[in-house]
Amino acid sequence: MRVAERYEPTVEADAEEARQLRETWKSRGGLIGWLGETDHKKIAGRYIVTAFVFFVLGGLEAALMRFQLARPESGLMGPDLYNQVFTMHGSTMMFLFAVPIMEAVAMYMVPLMIGARAMAFPRLNAYSWYCYVIGGGLLYGAFFLNVGPDTGWFSYVPLSGPEFAPGKRVDIWAQVVTFTELAALAAAVNQIATIFKYRAPGMSLSRMPLFVWSILVTAFMIIFAMPSVMAASSLLALDRLVATHFFNPAEGGDALLWQHLFWFFGHPEVYIIFIPALGMVSTIVAAFTRRKVFGYTAMVLSLVSTGFIGFGLWVHHMFATGLPQLGQSFFTAASMMIAIPSGVQIFCWIATLWSGRPRLAPPLLFVLGFVFIFVIGGLTGVMLASVPLDVQVHDTFFVVAHFHYVLIGGAVFPLLGAIFYWFPKMTGRLLSERLGKWSFWITFLGFNLTFFPMHILGLDGMPRRIYTYRAETGWGDLNLLATAGALVMALGLLLYLINVVSSWRHGAWAGDDPWGGEGLEWSVSSPPPDYNFQHLPTVRSRAPMWEQGPDQPVVVGLRSDRREVLVTRLIDAEPDHRETLPDHAMSPLAVAIATGVTFVGVIFTPWAFPIGIIITGIALIGWFWPRDESRELLEEQP
């Protein structure tokens, strides 16, 4: 294997190599083939579709809530059902949509953007998806059987403890949390290993696309944040099932411990959702202003510092609990300071737009909508960072407005833009620009109509999580407006969905590079071949498609009869060694089922834990059992 100075294969040799690669990298057919898939693109495709299914379900729950609150004492749902619905809405959006969709888009695009044929641990991606599906299925199965959780997505104790939350509802919630965070951890570990070790030669860390940087930061955040909530939910499950007292004040436990553990995860969680979106925005801004994003170093440092500072904010969710003032002030300062790196990013994008040639295609429209909405949300966030303001508007609709502005504006709008941008690469077809623009404007208008009045409602004293309110409060009119806005927003999102569904079959063919993008993903066909790159590229610029000529060297010599990939060094991506990856494996499914049996069984009996651990251990032995190819490799490269 070598980096060739001039590589001029004959047409036949090139075609023969491509044919061999197709043969080696293709997926097996049938149900077994589907279940044992390890191609990151196919798994990411499933992940994206599943996440959007949950998005629609979460949106239906939101619609139910809006119908309920549109009029005072509307009586559409009783308190028990309403409490379940708002818990499901929060849990679905946070655990089953927001984080998975970002991971899924990254799972698809990151290897293409770094010039790799695959991800470092192909089976781990499949395991992640299976755990995710089991968790989501458990949650919704429970919901339809009247055993859905009803204590909020944050599930504060003692309300969610054994005395005040009878039955199995909260136990199911706790296990769903553990599952989905396990899935997120698996995907995050895979991303870090891939980004660190699988980049094309020459793509040093300082030449990595900004989206890849954002995924790297996110993956590290996931590794530090998810264990906290998994610990919290496990402690809660122990309190509920085997009478421990972690959260029982009468026996030396502490109800506030839950809040600390949960929000230590919960605040980074929203940055885990938001930071990939920042990477998407950078990608879109570059492509649609036809220049590299201004201030690469500042952008990278902003991403990294947002990730770090994000871990120091969590107490701002607890300002009303009566913690000491001096301590709270630190969190106020941190919560305000985190606005600075986000501000730097926005200023850099504005500078990029200023000095580039903007083309107002739908992805850029979604980015402009993002700036509008996210800046409002960020500014209300600065207000909430202030303790005196927060103790007035905490747990009111002001907060609901704030986080929908930052999450929908800051994550969903960039996501919709990114899907528009990368849809041609994934499917080979273009989305309709006209429908895209209509869906943007209607969603934008509907969103603001829905959530802006909530700021006023919160200041007017309307608390959160109430299933009804009396007419004399005067909250009826703004609530009705919010519901009307929700319908408009739903229409906009429906148009987007129609765009996706109809373009999938009947959209215009996209070709390799419909947008003239800067990244390596646009150098392969749309959709990419199973092996991503026939000849691994080398990189000497941050915008390889724009700044590298056709004489840029490529990597030759990787085997085409095995799934061979090139592993490079961390900082400067010099070639290091070759690796052979598994092609098809049922072990992820087996381990996921074993994990599922363990965690679902624990809801009903503590015995499930030791039995399940043993079964999972056996399944893991199957996963790690040396493959035939390993013996060959040992002989080749001792």
Binding site: G322, A339, D460, G461, Y467, T473
Partner: protein
């Protein structure tokens, strides 16, 4: 009388300081937003010169612009931080020594109010309605017996969570008379939506009269109908949970009813306190407040009539 519940309609010093801070933040943030929006639109829409290759000077001026904007943002944030911390120190301070002390205890889904006093004979309990004298600081001690609730009267001050195992303390003051609503502000279960307390701020003389009345035991039943109602009350399961001071009824599981007719609402702000609503509430609480701990109690119509007459006499 409509009760007031807006954070932007301050009736006390703390809420007033917070409202002032709010307007500072609001105008600064609006200005920042407007500037960002203008910059964004200008960036997208401005006319571009033909040469697209920026010379180094162009990048440098952009760098200066971004750096300058970042510096200005940091300065604004520091200014807001200072404003916030100084307001926080003013409103979250210790209560003055002449404060009247009230203990607010959260239950699912009602508020137990205990007026404290160094002299035990001057202490009394009530439920769901707090009266305070205008112009006097009120120390509010908070605790909860079951789950986390939150004491919040937007017109007077920010909220304080009632957390089991973490009793806490805050203080507030009303500078004008009025009725102020305080919804529970932490999700506490099925009837979180119907757990409101009312704070009635009145002139000191009126407050003192109210306090004296609250210190008395329940007035004995005057008419034969009320006497019958008194007997009915004692024969039903009511005394298991409710107290009427001066009678054998001493239950402490539910709200104190000694002066229930003097309160404006029933069931923690869920219903107006009138005879019809009271009758409906006693016969079928689960329709009004599904999930509440009050069980329906069936009785004959004439017993109900007598009972209502008695309860309405408990001023």
């Amino acid at each position: 009388m409509r009760d007031l519940h807006s954070a932007l309609d301050a009736a006390g010093p703390q809420a007033g300081r917070i409202e002032d801070l709010w307007w500072i933040f609001f105008w600064v943030c609006t200005a920042v937003f407007a500037l960002v929006l203008i910059a964004l639109l200008a960036a997208v829409l401005h006319r571009r010169r033909e040469e697209l290759r920026r010379v180094d000077g162009g990048e440098r001026s952009l760098t200066r612009a971004v750096g300058g904007a970042t510096a200005i943002s940091a300065i604004i944030l520091i200014g807001l931080l200072i404003a916030s911390v100084s307001t926080g120190r003013a409103v979250l301070s210790q209560p003055p020594s002449d404060a009247l002390t009230i203990e607010v205890v959260g239950h699912q889904w009602w508020w137990e109010i205990n007026y404290e006093d160094p002299v035990p004979s001057r202490r009394f309990s009530t439920a769901n309605e707090i009266h305070i004298p205008v112009g006097r600081p009120i120390r509010v001690k908070t605790r909860s017996t079951d789950v986390i609730h939150s004491f919040w009267v937007p017109s007077l001050h920010g909220k304080r969570d009632l957390i089991p195992g973490h009793p806490s303390e805050t203080w507030l003051q009303a500078d004008r008379a009025g009725v102020f609503r305080g919804p529970c502000a932490e999700f506490c279960g099925a009837q979180h939506a119907n757990m409101h307390l009312l704070v009635v701020a009145e002139p000191p003389a009126a407050f003192e009269a109210w306090r004296q009345a609250q210190l008395q035991p329940a007035p004995p039943p005057a008419t034969p109908l009320q006497q019958r109602g008194h007997t009915v009350f004692l024969s039903l399961p009511c005394p298991t949970c409710h107290t009427i001071a001066g009678t054998p009824a001493g239950g402490r599981i539910g709200p104190d009813l000694t002066h229930m007719a003097s309160r404006r609402t029933l069931a923690a702000g869920t219903l107006p306190n009138t005879k019809g609503y009271l009758g409906g509430w006693i016969l079928d609480p689960q329709t009004q407040k599904p999930g509440s701990k009050m069980p329906p109690v069936a009785m004959k119509s004439e017993d109900l009539e007598a009972l209502l007459s008695y309860l309405e006499s408990l001023r």
